[in-house]
C-alpha cells in the first residue's frame, strides 16, 4: 500500500523511478573524438563480432569467420547461418553463436559440438561468447522473448528475460548462471567472478564467490555491450548507443510505446539505434538552438559510439568516443591485439583501429 502510494506520488512529482534523468558523460567518460578519428581498418558486408587469439584479429562477418594477419583476410570458418557471436578457444578452435539460437564449436578438439537449449529453455538471442582459460564458455542469451535482431523490441517492451550461461565444451554440460536480466549482452570471466552486461539496466554485474548480481559498474549513461580483456589487465567495455532523456521518457509511457510499436516502422521509432541520419523520417538527431543571437549546436543523440577501458576492479579509466555528429556509431565489440584496439562500428559496418599507447599517452598523461 505504501509502495503504491509512493509510486503514485513519484509519478506526480517526477521523482524516484519517474524522474527522467540521465547520467552525464564526464570524468573518465568525458567525450573525445578518438573513435571518430580512428583509422578505418576494414569495411565489411555484415560484421557482428570480433575476437583475437593474441596475434591475429578474427571477425564474424555474415556466415564466415575471417582472420586478419595484418591487412590480409582469410576465411577460417564457414557456417550455415549468420554468426551472432564469436570466441577463440584457448586450446584451438572457435566457438560461434549461429542466428542467436545455437552455440557451436568449430575446429579444435570438440569440433561440431553444439547447444541449442540450456536449462530446458531454447537459446533465443545468443549475442556474446567468452572463453575462459579452462576452456569453458560463457554465453549471454540477450532475451528469451525476442530474437537477436529484435533487440529494440525487447527494450521497448521493457524486457527482463536475458540470461548468462556456462557451457563446458569438453563435458558437454551447460548451466544457467543467472536469468531474468534486462537484456544480457556481453560477458567475461573476471578472476573467479563472471561479469555480465545488463544493457537495459545500464550496468555490469558480477556473479560468483557469493556475489549474485553485485554491480561492478552501474548507472552508465549508455547501453553497455560486449566485454573483452585488455592487454595489461582490466577490460574493454563497448556501448552501442547512449541514453537520452527523450528515450527514458518514452520508456515510461506505456500507451505511447505500445502504439508506436504497433503502428510505426521500427526504423523511425524514438528509440536507440546503431546508426542515424539516414533519412529525414528519423527522430531528430542533429539540431541547433539560438542563444543570445548565436546559433549553437544541440544534438539529442540517437546513435553513438563508445568504448570504455575498465580497470580490474571495474573502475572506468578512460573512454573513446564517436560523438553524435560522427559516423562510427553502434560499437558492439572491441578487442585489443598487439597494442592496437580494434572496434566494430556495426552501424557503419566498419572496423576501426586505434593504437592503445597513443590513446593512453593523450588521455592519461
Amino acid at each position: 500500500m505504501i509502495d503504491a502510494l509512493r509510486t503514485l506520488t513519484d509519478q506526480f512529482l517526477g521523482r524516484g523511478a519517474a524522474a527522467i534523468t540521465v547520467p552525464i558523460f564526464d570524468g573518465a567518460l568525458k567525450p573525445n573524438q578518438f573513435l571518430e578519428q580512428a583509422e578505418t581498418f576494414a569495411e565489411l558486408e555484415a560484421p557482428e563480432d570480433l575476437a583475437t587469439d593474441g596475434t591475429s584479429l578474427f571477425v564474424a562477418d555474415g556466415s564466415s569467420v575471417l582472420r586478419y594477419d595484418g591487412d590480409l583476410a582469410t576465411t577460417v570458418a564457414q557456417v550455415d547461418g549468420r554468426i551472432t557471436a564469436l570466441a577463440i578457444l584457448p586450446h584451438g578452435g572457435l566457438a560461434v553463436a549461429i542466428d542467436g539460437t545455437e552455440v557451436r564449436v568449430v575446429g579444435g578438439a570438440h569440433d561440431g559440438r553444439s547447444w541449442s537449449s540450456v536449462a530446458g529453455k531454447p537459446l533465443s538471442a545468443a549475442n556474446a561468447i567468452s572463453a575462459g582459460g579452462d576452456g569453458r564458455l560463457l554465453v549471454t542469451d540477450g532475451s528469451q522473448a525476442q530474437p537477436y535482431d529484435r533487440w529494440c523490441h525487447d527494450l521497448m517492451s521493457l524486457g527482463r528475460s536475458g540470461r548468462v550461461l556456462e557451457i563446458d565444451p569438453a563435458g558437454g554440460g551447460a548451466r544457467e548462471i543467472a536469468s531474468g536480466l534486462a537484456y544480457a549482452f556481453g560477458t567475461i570471466a573476471a578472476g573467479n567472478d563472471v561479469w555480465v552486461c545488463e544493457s537495459w539496466a545500464h550496468r555490469v554485474l558480477a556473479y560468483g564467490n557469493g556475489k549474485h548480481g553485485a554491480p561492478v559498474v552501474s548507472r552508465l549513461p549508455c547501453y553497455p555491450s560486449r566485454l573483452a580483456p585488455a592487454a595489461d589487465g582490466g577490460y574493454w567495455l563497448t556501448a552501442f548507443t547512449c541514453r537520452t532523456q527523450l528515450v527514458e521518457f518514452v520508456l515510461r509511457q506505456k500507451a505511447y510505446r505500445v502504439r508506436m510499436m504497433k503502428e510505426i516502422d521500427p526504423r523511425y521509432w524514438i528509440a536507440p539505434a546503431l546508426t542515424s541520419g539516414n533519412t529525414f523520417l528519423e527522430p531528430l538527431q542533429g539540431a541547433h538552438l539560438k542563444m543570445r543571437g548565436i546559433h549553437k549546436p544541440w544534438a539529442p543523440p540517437r546513435s553513438y559510439g563508445l568504448v570504455m577501458r575498465l580497470a580490474p576492479d571495474g573502475l572506468v579509466r578512460y573512454s573513446l568516443h564517436s560523438r553524435v555528429d560522427g559516423k562510427n556509431h553502434g560499437i558492439v565489440a572491441a578487442v585489443e591485439c598487439q597494442g592496437t584496439l580494434f572496434a566494430l562500428a556495426k552501424g557503419r559496418r566498419r572496423i576501426v583501429s586505434v593504437p592503445v599507447a597513443d590513446v593512453e599517452r593523450r588521455l592519461l598523461s
Binding site: T21, P23, G27, R219, L364
Partner: protein, 498 residues
C-alpha cells in the same frame, strides 16, 4: 574635452586592509552608457558602491562635474544625482508601485489618490507600462526594474548604476530593458552597467571598462573591442611571482564516482544540471555570478531545496538522496563549507572548541544524550592542532580570530564530521596569504586521503592551482569540463561567458 560627470582618481577601497579596488582611475562622460566587465571579485561592485555612497573610499578622490565630493550614504549620493539599482531590488514588496516611488518623499499629509495620479503621470512620461496601484511583490522582474529606474529618475538622478540588471530577466524583458536604457540616455542620463554577458556589453555600451583584481585593465570605445580582447583583458594576469605561479603538472586519477547530480533543477538558478564527483580528486567548479554553481552544491548538501516537481536526482554512491536540511547530509558524509563564514559558518560568541564540538554533535545526533565538556575539549584540541588554528587557547571566542583562522575553524567544524564529500565554497575569500597556503595544503591532503573534494571558487588561478578537473558553469548548468592539464584561463573564461 568634455568634463566627466563622475570621475574617480587613484581610488582605493580596502576591506580589513585587503584592497578591493586599488588606485583606480575612472571617468563617466555625460549621456554615455559605460559597461564594467570583469571576473567575480574584480572590483566592479566596489567601484560602483563607492560612487553610490554605499561604501567610502579609503584613499583617492571622487569628483562630480569637476567638484570633489565624498558621499557617505546612498541618500547623499542621490542628492548628488547618483542612483544605484541593485541586483536584488530595494523596493518594499508589500507596498504599491506608487508608494515605492514616493517612499522617503512623504509629506505630513499624504493623499493616496494624489500619489497614484502623480505616479501614473510620471510613469507615462517615461513610457513605462506599470500600474501604479499594483503591489510590487506581484510584479515580474522586468517591471520591478522599471520601478527602480523610475524611482531613480524621479529623484532626478543624472547617473544610474545597474548591477547585473539582466541576470533575472527573460529575453523579451531584456530587450525591453535595453530600450529603457537607450531611452534614459536620450534624456541625458549617464548609465553605468555591470554585466557578465559580453554580448550585452558589446550591444548597448558606448565605452567598456575591463577590471581585474581591483584594477582597471583597459577602457576603450565599444568599437575597439571584440569578445577575444575582453576575455584576454579579463584573465591575462601575471602570476609568476604569486602563490599560483606554478602550473599543475600532474593530476590525481579519478577514483570511484561518489556523487552524481542528474538533471537538477532549482528555480531559475539551476537548470537541468548534471555532474559527477569522484573520490581522491579535487573537482574545481568555476562560474560567474548567477551561473548556479553554489546553488547546485547547496541543493546537494541540503542547504536549499530543489524544485518539488521534476527537480532531478542527486545520487550518493549511486543511491538517490534528497536532503531537506543539512543534518542528514552530514550524517551521510556530505559537508558544505560555506562561502559566508560570518553568517553561516560559526557562532561568533562561542569558543573555538565549542564551535568544533557543535559540528561533531551534528554528526552524532541522537547518540549523545549528554554533552561532555571533556569530549568537547578533546575534539577541539585535536582539530585545532590538525588545522593549525592559531589562537591563545581553544577557549578564545570565534569572533576574536583573524579571517584566516576563522576560515580554518569553519573547515574544522566540517572535518570533525569525518565527511566523504567536502564542498568548499570560496575557501580562501578574505583570507591572508599564509592561511591560503595552509588551506590549500589541507584541501590537497584531503584529496590524497581519498576524499571527494569540491572547490567552488571565483578566482580562476585558485581553481587552476587546486583542481584535478575543472567544471565550468554557465546559466545554471555545467557547460564544460577540463582536465587541469589542458585548462587555461582563457579556455575557462571563454566557456564561462559564451
Amino acid at each position: 574635452m568634455t568634463t566627466p560627470i563622475v570621475e574617480l582618481r587613484k581610488a582605493t577601497k580596502k576591506y580589513a586592509g585587503v584592497p578591493a579596488i586599488e588606485e583606480v582611475d575612472f571617468a563617466l562622460l555625460p549621456g554615455e552608457i559605460h559597461t564594467l566587465v570583469g571576473e567575480n571579485g574584480a572590483g566592479k561592485s566596489t567601484l560602483t558602491k563607492v560612487m553610490a555612497g554605499v561604501v567610502a573610499l579609503t584613499s583617492g578622490q571622487m569628483l562630480i562635474e569637476g567638484r570633489e565630493v565624498r558621499p557617505e550614504t546612498p541618500v547623499q549620493a542621490l542628492h548628488l544625482g547618483i542612483a544605484m539599482v541593485f541586483q536584488e531590488t530595494s523596493l518594499v514588496p508589500t507596498m504599491t508601485v506608487a508608494q515605492n516611488l514616493f517612499l522617503g518623499q512623504e509629506r505630513f499629509y499624504n493623499r493616496l489618490r494624489g500619489i497614484y495620479i502623480a505616479a501614473q503621470q510620471f510613469l507615462q512620461t517615461l513610457q513605462f507600462d506599470v500600474d501604479p496601484a499594483a503591489t510590487v511583490s506581484l510584479l515580474g522582474a522586468a517591471k520591478k526594474q522599471m520601478v527602480e529606474i523610475a524611482r531613480a529618475v524621479l529623484h532626478k538622478a543624472t547617473v544610474i548604476i545597474f548591477d547585473e540588471p539582466t541576470a533575472s530577466l527573460t529575453p523579451e524583458e531584456k530587450k525591453y530593458f535595453f530600450d529603457l536604457v537607450v531611452n534614459l540616455k536620450a534624456r541625458g542620463v549617464s548609465v553605468i552597467f555591470i554585466s557578465h554577458a559580453l554580448e550585452e556589453a558589446l550591444l548597448i555600451s558606448d565605452r567598456i571598462t575591463v577590471m581585474r583584481d581591483g584594477k582597471v585593465v583597459v577602457t576603450d570605445r565599444k568599437e575597439n573591442f571584440d569578445r577575444a580582447r575582453i576575455v584576454q583583458a579579463m584573465v591575462g594576469r601575471d602570476l609568476s611571482q604569486t602563490l599560483y605561479g606554478q602550473r599543475k603538472t600532474t593530476v590525481r586519477p579519478a577514483g570511484k564516482r561518489v556523487l552524481s547530480v542528474e538533471n537538477l533543477r532549482m528555480a531559475a538558478m539551476v537548470k537541468n544540471n548534471s555532474l559527477s564527483v569522484f573520490a581522491g580528486q579535487i573537482t574545481g567548479v568555476f562560474g560567474l555570478v548567477g551561473s548556479g554553481r553554489t546553488e547546485t552544491f547547496k541543493v546537494v548538501a541540503g542547504v536549499i531545496k530543489r524544485d518539488i516537481m521534476y527537480g532531478g536526482e542527486v545520487l550518493l554512491h549511486d543511491k538517490p538522496v534528497r536532503y531537506l536540511v543539512p543534518a542528514p547530509a552530514v550524517r551521510d558524509g556530505i559537508v558544505y563549507v560555506t562561502e559566508d563564514r560570518k553568517l553561516e559558518g560559526f557562532f561568533e560568541t562561542k569558543s573555538i572548541a565549542d564551535n568544533i564540538y557543535l559540528g561533531f554533535l551534528a554528526k552524532v545526533r541522537g547518540k549523545r544524550k549528554l554533552v561532555s565538556k571533556r569530549e568537547a575539549s578533546d575534539v577541539g584540541e585535536r582539530l585545532i592542532k590538525r588545522l593549525n588554528i592559531r589562537a591563545i587557547s581553544k577557549d578564545v571566542k570565534a569572533i576574536e580570530l583573524s579571517g584566516g583562522n576563522q576560515q580554518k575553524l569553519v573547515i574544522a567544524k566540517s572535518l570533525v564530521q569525518e565527511p566523504e564529500v567536502i564542498i568548499f565554497d570560496e575557501p580562501t575569500r578574505g583570507v591572508d596569504v599564509n592561511a591560503i597556503t595552509e588551506i590549500h595544503q589541507l584541501i590537497n591532503r584531503l584529496a590524497d586521503e581519498g576524499k571527494a573534494v569540491v572547490v567552488i571558487s571565483s578566482y580562476l588561478p585558485e581553481v587552476m592551482a587546486l583542481s584535478d578537473r575543472i567544471l565550468v558553469c554557465r546559466m545554471g548548468k555545467v557547460v564544460e569540463e577540463f582536465s587541469a592539464l589542458e585548462a587555461t584561463e582563457e579556455k575557462i573564461m571563454y566557456a564561462a561567458i559564451h
